[in-house]
């Protein structure tokens, strides 16, 4: 009898854990997009006033940000120093394929960033950064829409699914 109840409790806990993971992934998406927005704002500022070359710019942005995404920019600087590809976009793609822990939306934004970098004129380059920043803000807005309800929903759904499964199994 007790084994049955322990099994039911484990089923509920496992499903609840999936709900928790979904909430975590959602928050991670948000956090990475926010980090990227901050990095982009810093890059735009640094470019406007100092015209810093890209590898240095990436390192400075990483240093400034001190976030998990900052490490990605340090790696990008290393790829650029190593002349891994003729343009920035392929360097970015190589790096994205290597680092699998970047959330999907941030990965898409980084791909856009890679394509926008390498303009001949500063204003064109700043517009490119601005476009990626807009993309991040748009995605953040979408994520923030009914945010609390969604997060609660994932958790409740996990627990309810677990309970339902436990009842079925009992």
């Amino acid at each position: 009898m007790s084994v049955k109840w322990i099994g039911a409790a484990l089923t509920v806990a496992a499903c609840g854990w999936f709900g928790y993971l979904a909430v975590n992934a959602y928050k991670r998406q948000e956090s990475y997009l926010q980090q990227l927005s901050q990095i982009l704002a810093y890059m735009a500022w640094e470019l406007e006033y100092r015209l810093t070359p890209l590898p240095e710019l990436c390192r400075k942005a990483a240093q400034q940000s001190k976030s998990p995404l900052g490490q990605f920019f340090v790696q990008l600087a290393q790829e650029l120093d190593g002349q891994a590809a003729p343009e920035v976009a392929p360097c970015m793609s190589i790096l994205l394929s290597k680092s699998g822990d970047i959330p999907q939306l941030t990965g898409k934004a980084l791909e856009l960033l890679g394509e926008s970098l390498g303009q001949y004129d500063l204003s064109g380059q700043l517009k490119g950064l601005e476009a990626v920043e807009k993309y991040c803000k748009h995605e953040l807005e979408k994520l923030s829409y009914h945010r609390e309800e969604r997060l609660r929903g994932y958790q409740v759904l996990g627990l309810c699914a677990g309970t339902a499964l436990a009842i079925l199994l009992i």
């Binding site: 070359p53 890209l54 590898p55 650029l80 002349q83 390498g118 303009q119 001949y120 004129d121």
Partner: protein, 278 residues
């Protein structure tokens, strides 16, 4: 192997470096990449061709390695050239982007000309360095190289300092091991007219040196500096003094009598001294 040559090789795609290093380590003057055409190497004034044809990614690689993936940071990229680490100048041709009548970039690069920066200490030995010096010559005749050596000699000999307004970063480039006298102040990256004015006001030089004067504002700034009691060292594109006098931009400068010494360079790198006769 010097670091300027290493810097030059690092501009090229990996699969091109070995061949260029093998054939051109000692005598390469220019490397030209034209989209879809064999790569041209100019060795001691003569062209040889690599069997390899230039691909779009090769051109992108050179532009990006010259600017460290940041054409925007090279303020001159939109004007059609980038000075790479080591002082090598990458000239860019392609489809220009014009906004409000100003060239803001190049949308498609179709040709590149990479000029190898070289240094020959002592080539200016024998030049009389008193007063102001103007070096004339056609492109590729060695004006910048001679000016660099004359700056060294002048900084070594002069009481006071030599201010170098190095707009293109070719005289004493970053990443090159070109020897520089300790009494030399280099202002890199700013326009010549503005740079001359800045150097004059802030550095208290006895000599101001500029490479390739091309605009009326440059000539006006030079004359203004000379009237303030500073000696000048400059280069210009011209085949002779007569050629110089025929150009409306240069004529006032030549007529002002500011330059006591005019050195005329030939394509074969030989030079002669002339006086301005009006």
């Amino acid at each position: 192997m010097n670091c300027a040559w290493d810097a030059f090789l690092s501009l090229l795609p990996q699969d091109m470096r070995h061949e260029v290093n093998k054939q051109g380590a000692k005598s390469l003057q220019e490397l030209r990449l034209r989209l879809g055409q064999p790569v041209e190497m100019v060795l001691n004034g003569k062209s040889t061709w690599l069997s390899r044809k230039a691909r779009p990614e090769d051109l992108s690689f050179v532009v990006n390695s010259a600017s460290r993936y940041s054409p925007w940071s090279a303020s001159t990229a939109a004007q059609g050239y980038i000075t790479a680490t080591g002082g090598h100048r990458v000239g860019i041709c392609g489809v220009c982007v014009i906004q409000n009548g100003i060239m803001t970039g190049i949308s498609k690069v179709t040709s590149l000309c990479i000029r190898v920066a070289k240094d020959f200490p002592g080539i200016g030995n024998g030049c009389d360095l008193s007063g102001s010096v103007l070096i004339l010559g056609p492109p590729g005749s060695g004006k910048t190289t001679l000016l660099r050596d004359l700056i060294r000699r002048r900084a070594d000999a002069a009481w006071g300092s030599v201010a170098v307004v190095d707009e293109r970063g070719e005289l004493f480039p970053v990443g090159a091991d070109f020897y520089k006298e300790c009494r030399t102040d280099v202002l890199t990256g700013c326009g010549k007219a503005h740079g001359i004015e800045t150097a004059l006001r802030t550095m208290g030089p006895t000599v101001i040196a500029v490479d390739e004067i091309t605009a009326k504002t440059d000539c006006d700034a030079l004359m203004h500096a000379a009237w303030c009691g500073v000696d000048l060292m400059a280069t210009a594109h011209a085949a002779s003094i007569q050629d110089l006098l025929q150009r409306p931009i240069y004529r006032p400068l030549a007529e002002s009598g500011l330059f006591q010494t005019v050195l005329i360079l030939n394509r074969d790198k030989s030079w002669r001294r002339e006086r301005v006769r009006l």
